[in-house]
Point group: C2
Chain length 494, copies 2
């Protein structure tokens, strides 16, 4: 989840000022509008120590009118708090209607800290997540707009920040009687953070994950998220129009790197190498599929990727290896009438095979946050809440014992162009290329953003994404087969 | 929770036909309207064996067009189901948009059965509740209208039904390979049912508890609940108008008995008896308050009741016994501006005293479902969802270690009249009687209904209601003091 955020998004100083000025103006307007309204805005800022939470709060206070903002930090604990139910301390700091409350060290801090220190077990932790969900849901039903920002920095940056060696930065002294101190526990802290985010990511108060390496990017992005949430809240409270209809402000700056940029598209395999490895991993996979059958573990694999990325032929290399009794391949195009008459997840649930079998999804539930998002088939509200729905769905699969694999086959825009052209010239492939494919190509950038967000929001411990280097088809196929073998072997050994 | 439902609500045969005819007509209209719409209706029927779930389903099918209804029973289990994640079996039976799905033996059956049989522990059970909440929330966000009916019958009726000895009834053979069989486990089953209802009672899909002793009352009431939910759903999907604004159908039949009718108002204490017991229980309470202080257990007591029921003087008898350092009495009238600027529970949270102290609430958060409901200060949506909010609030208090007491002081309408008259005649009491008191009196019946529902929806194991017999003030005061002593003693011994 977090690793996929480390792609180096940044905004230059010169550009920052250009972006900040109008943003600040709009934030102020939204704040003045809020003052007249009947609901509060609650901003929760999460992230490990050293991720720049404090600096962000300074910025928000600088950009808006601090008289309408109350920041609560909870860095000192009182026995007054300890001697009352957990949420009492937060109730008393809740902003009034018309006000903004920023929470640094919120209801999330204590359970995270306790779990990292192994003072509470999984059940207790999950109970905290449920309490948080109930609390936020109640506030939301009362009208509150809740914005949850999670700032992520790399391990190195964190270390530099904590040791005060970050270039050109002055770090506040870390004074707290219950230190949220994670040095030496970075990995564990990230794991708990992921659990926390997944357990409390709801449609009414979703988490936003922000790469916070670059402070300009961090501040602009967070400012925009806050602004959009405030505009959506105003729209929700003003008329019948759903939040989807209001005018979203989108970061107008130059394209940022995405997680796809981390894929090395130069990787390739020689023909002989390929043949050898294909035989080797297909044989392995054959055995593993039977072993999974014996262990009654089902496999659920999702194949997504650009048009012409080679999904079909890659899937064939997988299915060739597996006894037809053990797998089923399902393809998804536009939903049927019957499917449209149900929740969008319904058509995927119905395809699940029994324990011990493999189900391969050629396109999947991720259509919701890809094509349906980009083409506007799903409303903003619908596709945004589907990250949580998808994570819950996959968690249920994993808890039932299914082994999950998710592939995004990545190719370059240039490579796609070549393949499209080649298809047009080969009679037996002409059916594979349509006007629509060319149209989709124009939306490359939109899809990139959608994939970037999809990968960071739905890469979980139990269902991580594999980004496949697809410019060289042999390489891609072997990467997929290898991933299958490795993942299944590991799961069956557990 | 359930005991308070056993008050003997019924509808006579003759009256039944009068009520059923228009209800049926309206249900059919609602069903035809639904067929054109873009969301399904999901009716979940819960209750112990023998509570008449099957008969109710027959009735609903008789009243509506069975072609638009699909009933799912899940009484036979297949290995197809067992070999997929738990919710798969329900996903595949979900009704399409425009259709009604009735679930007998739903996602609730398995966790209830497992818990009663002690095959799962509290954590696992609570995990099921969370899964259910996630599932229903997701369906609701997709537009589904969810109606959850819980039928309750007394132990005797259940036994008669199960043994086929119920007068004039023919019982279906109980055939199921996983019998939801509760004979001999009645008490345990009720306890689990209460946990299940509290754990899954949400604003988007609230539970309705129905006394199902009388089949006429059961059918009319359930029919009305279904109809109202369908009308509310239609209103929600049609315009911006909140569900609160649509025209509710209310059972127009004669007043039904309420839980208040179970209070024996003839109970009285002689002066000498009273004095003796007052001294005795006040002394006990004094000790117990100090003991609670030593054990760091706080006490939260709520006093509600009719105007002129004697709340004030009863509270005085309690506070007299307790060291002023140990308690705080808070009174609630109309909320202040500051209080109005927050969630309605905020003003109660802020009054909570520290561990070891007592907080006495002269009127309380129950105003939401009493005066605010009856006077229309809260919308239908607001006060309906507050049952769940209140139960969650009190659960948090109980889990923190607070000892909860809730009193409703009941008097007869005649007694209230006498007391009002007397107040008007005594100069020093005239300030206690206003025009508003007389106006409230006209709404006696509305308040009765509100109290009835409040008591059944919020009487929980950790925070039960005590209905106080208030026509005789000495009796009422001693009943309250005794309840204090008993509850605190028990809690401190745990």
């Amino acid at each position: 989840m977090f690793k996929t955020l480390e792609v180096g998004k940044q905004i230059k100083s010169s550009e920052f000022n250009e972006l900040a000025l109008p943003l600040r103006q709009k934030l102020l307007e939204a704040q003045f509008d809020l003052a007249e309204r009947n609901y509060p805005v609650i901003i929760v800022i999460g992230g490990l120590d050293g991720s720049g939470k404090g600096a962000l709060i300074h910025r928000l206070n600088e950009w808006m009118d601090p008289r309408g903002i109350e920041t609560s930090t909870f860095w000192e604990h009182s026995d007054e708090e300890e001697s009352r139910p957990y949420f009492w301390r937060f109730w008393r700091r809740l902003p009034s209607r018309g006000q903004i409350g920023i929470f640094l060290g919120s209801w999330y801090t204590h359970p995270a800290q306790e779990k990292i220190d192994e003072k509470i077990n999984d059940e207790e932790f999950s109970q905290y997540c449920k309490e948080i969900e109930i609390f936020e849901h109640m506030l939301n039903e009362d009208g509150a707009v809740i914005v949850k920002l999670w700032l992520h920095v790399t391990r190195d940056t964190q270390r530099q920040q904590l040791e005060g060696t970050a270039p050109g930065k002055k770090q506040n002294p870390r004074v707290t009687d219950q230190p949220y101190e994670l040095r030496g526990k970075y990995k564990q802290a990230l794991q708990v953070s992921e659990q926390l985010i997944l357990g409390t990511d709801s449609s009414h108060s979703p988490w936003h994950l922000i790469e916070a390496e670059d402070r300009h990017y961090r501040d602009i992005t967070c400012g925009e998220i806050v602004l959009n949430a405030m505009l959506a809240g105003a729209a929700r409270h003003t008329t019948s129009s759903s939040a989807a209809e209001h005018q979203l402000v989108v970061n107008s700056s130059a394209a940022q790197p995405t997680v796809l940029d981390s894929v090395d598209l130069e990787l390739a395999l020689e023909r002989d190498d390929y043949k050898e490895q294909l035989a080797k991993y297909q044989a392995k996979l054959q055995d593993l599929a039977w072993e999974a059958y014996r262990h009654k573990r089902s496999v659920v694999a999702v194949f997504e990727g650009w048009d012409a990325a080679g999904k079909g032929s890659a899937i064939r290399r997988v299915t060739q290896a597996i006894d037809p009794r053990l797998y089923r391949l399902v393809q998804f195009a536009a939903p049927t009438d019957e499917e449209n008459a149900h929740h969008y997840l319904w058509r995927f649930w119905r395809q699940l095979q029994r324990d011990g079998r493999c189900t391969f999804f050629d396109r999947s539930w991720y259509g919701r946050v890809l094509v349906e998002r980009v083409e506007g088939f799903a409303t903003l509200e619908e596709w945004q809440r589907s990250y949580g729905e998808i994570n819950q769905f996959e968690r249920q699969l994993a808890e039932h014992g299914s082994i999950l694999l998710k592939f995004w086959i990545h190719i370059s825009q240039e490579e796609q162009y070549q393949r499209f052209k080649a298809r047009e010239q080969e009679p037996h492939k002409q059916h594979k290329i349509t006007e629509e494919d060319w149209r989709n190509r124009d939306k490359w950038h939109d899809y990139e953003l959608a994939v970037d967000q999809m990968v960071s929001r739905t890469s979980t411990r139990h269902a991580p994404w594999t980004l496949v280097s697809g410019n060289n088809k042999p390489y891609a196929r072997i990467q997929i087969l290898k991933t299958f073998c490795k993942t299944m072997k590991q799961a069956l050994e557990d």
